[in-house]
């Protein structure tokens, strides 16, 4: 590999360019007409415009990206996260063009992107999955029996639904029959398909995930991250290792992720996501993401390992260098978005009129900002990620408070006040959070901006 094309934008494009440069690679940054001034364009050796602002015509335009690779002589493509990162058709098209795709092959992306197939692979690898009906049920007697076996409360979902539509919760066998029949007839009316499936309800769950890396033959894990603080199913705060797990549980959970990666011959960086039942201590596989994730720096801080550089090396045919990696201390990442927490997180595109980046031991700020940069309105609102590393969780929380106090992003409303408020929350300090904690807490808060917004 000699020249890497980055098929993404924003902070992750900047991150990939830094990793490529550390490996001595030349870089090509593609960009839309709205992104000509972005930081990654300025940092890359070459830049190619690939289309208008709309992502569908630029960052999702496979032909335009392959054409840019051809014109510049790039021999590899890094997809980042989002956009085409988990598009099996793109991975295949890159391979068919004779180029290296930095990530797993198309077949693995397709396999793990299919929820049912991924769940089956997890079961075969010995990874616990959320107890459920293992498929669609149409017979209500059979459904009632499965619900008894799983144990109440259970969720009833319409097979043809999606996005949380038509989900019902049955607390006991008595209500189950009525609710299941109702769900089936509603699904029949709405989707023409009355099939339902059943899943155990985990009332108080944490989101815990495991970073894995594989070279197609062997795979290993890089410990866990907890991302329970979510708003509208978007992570806002990630940390690792999860302070909720005891060591035997952590070893079992992380080991199961490595086993799944080995089972599917995983190549590249990936994340295996779990629900952790805070009441019982059980964990269950949810899905595997076949890309580098936004929150990968948490893992880099506790292992001292450059995951992006490593996934590029592996794509270039090199072997996994490490067995089990030791970890050190505790890291926390918070996502600085161009959103106004005082106004229901309304997006706030604008011009960065001033910028002060926090510095110091155990502080890292991955971002796409510079003074005078106009944030385009066409893409997601992530501006950067503030990551801190401390000897313990308490130490990391202290460092986060200090780093936030140093960070100034002027001219925009950002989510910084959210994190200042979260640091003061008793449940955050004592780690008594779960995936349904943040939204009700936000209802009780008044998150006005400091004096930074224009």
């Amino acid at each position: 590999m000699d020249k890497l094309l980055i098929a993404n934008r924003g902070e992750i494009a900047v991150r990939i360019i830094h990793a490529a440069q550390s490996l001595g690679l030349k870089t090509v940054q593609v960009y839309s007409a709205a992104d000509a001034e972005m930081l990654a364009v300025k940092l890359a050796d070459e830049a190619v415009e690939i289309g208008p602002p709309q992502a569908a015509k630029s960052y999702l335009n496979i032909d335009a990206i392959l054409q840019a690779a051809k014109e510049t002589g790039a021999d590899a493509i890094h997809p980042g996260y989002g956009f085409l990162a988990e598009n099996a058709g793109f991975a295949q098209a890159v391979a068919d063009a004779g180029l290296i795709f930095v990530g797993p092959d198309a077949a693995t992306i397709r396999l793990m992107g299919d929820k049912a197939a991924a769940r089956q692979q997890a079961s075969l690898a010995g990874v616990p999955t959320v107890p459920g009906s293992d498929g669609i049920i149409t017979d209500m007697e059979a459904a009632a029996q499965i619900a008894e076996e799983i144990g109440f409360p259970v969720m009833i979902k319409a097979a043809a639904g999606g996005g949380g539509r038509g989900i019902r919760v049955a607390e006991d066998a008595g209500t189950f029959r009525a609710l299941a029949a109702q769900a089936a007839s509603e699904a029949k009316a709405a989707f023409g398909d009355g099939g339902i499936y059943i899943e155990k309800l985990i009332a108080r769950a944490r989101h815990v995930e495991v970073q894995v890396l594989g070279d197609g033959h062997d795979a290993t894990h890089f410990w866990d991250r907890e991302c329970s603080l979510q708003r509208r199913r978007q992570k806002v705060w990630e940390e690792g290792p999860s302070a909720a797990l005891d060591e035997p549980t952590r070893e079992a959970l992380c080991g199961s992720a490595a086993a799944l990666a080995r089972k599917v011959g995983y190549k590249g960086a990936g994340t295996v996501e779990y629900l952790y039942d805070d009441t019982t201590g059980a964990f269950y596989f949810i899905e595997m993401n076949t890309r580098i994730q936004v929150e990968h720096p948490v893992t880099e801080m506790i292992t001292g390992f450059d995951l992006v550089a490593e996934m590029i090396r592996i794509a270039d045919g090199q072997k996994l260098r490490h067995g089990l990696t030791p970890r050190r201390g505790h890291a926390i990442e918070v996502r600085l978005n161009a959103e106004d927490p005082a106004n229901n997180f309304m997006p706030f595109p604008g011009v960065v009129s001033g910028l002060e980046v926090p510095e110091g031991d155990g502080i890292r700020f991955d971002h796409m900002l510079y003074e005078g940069y106009a944030i385009p309105p066409f893409y997601d609102s992530l501006l950067g990620k503030l990551i801190v590393h401390g000897t313990s969780r308490a130490d990391a929380l202290d460092r986060l408070a200090g780093a936030l106090a140093q960070l100034r992003i002027e001219g925009l409303a950002t989510t910084k006040p959210l994190f200042e408020a979260l640091l003061k929350a008793e449940d955050v300090q004592s780690n008594a959070v779960h995936t349904k904690w943040l939204e009700p807490w936000l209802e009780t808060q008044d998150l006005t901006q400091g004096d930074e917004a224009a």
């Binding site: 709205a34 709309q54 595109p349 309105p377 997601d380």
Partner: protein, 78 residues
């Protein structure tokens, strides 16, 4: 006499509630103050654009799915 409906925010303008549905308003349609004439997507969040006057749609200077700046004219009423 004509009236311009402008976008309060930058983003991508959509004339339809979803790709498979008809437009909120067609040229020649009567519009009352408060009627939704389109959506502007900014950073993956959608905002309804409501008419701030009564009238009849004379034209839509911006095509469905095209980028707009804050203050740009989305519809002209006569």
């Amino acid at each position: 006499m004509s009236h311009e409906i402008k976008s309060p925010i930058p983003g991508t303008f959509y004339r339809k509630p979803s790709p498979d549905e008809p437009p909120f308003k067609a040229e020649g349609d009567a519009v009352a103050k408060g009627d939704v004439i389109g959506l502007v997507e900014v950073m993956k969040s959608f905002h309804q654009i409501q008419s701030d006057a009564d009238g009849v749609v004379a034209s839509f200077p911006v095509e469905d799915g095209e980028p707009v700046m804050a203050g740009q004219v989305l519809a002209v009423l006569s």
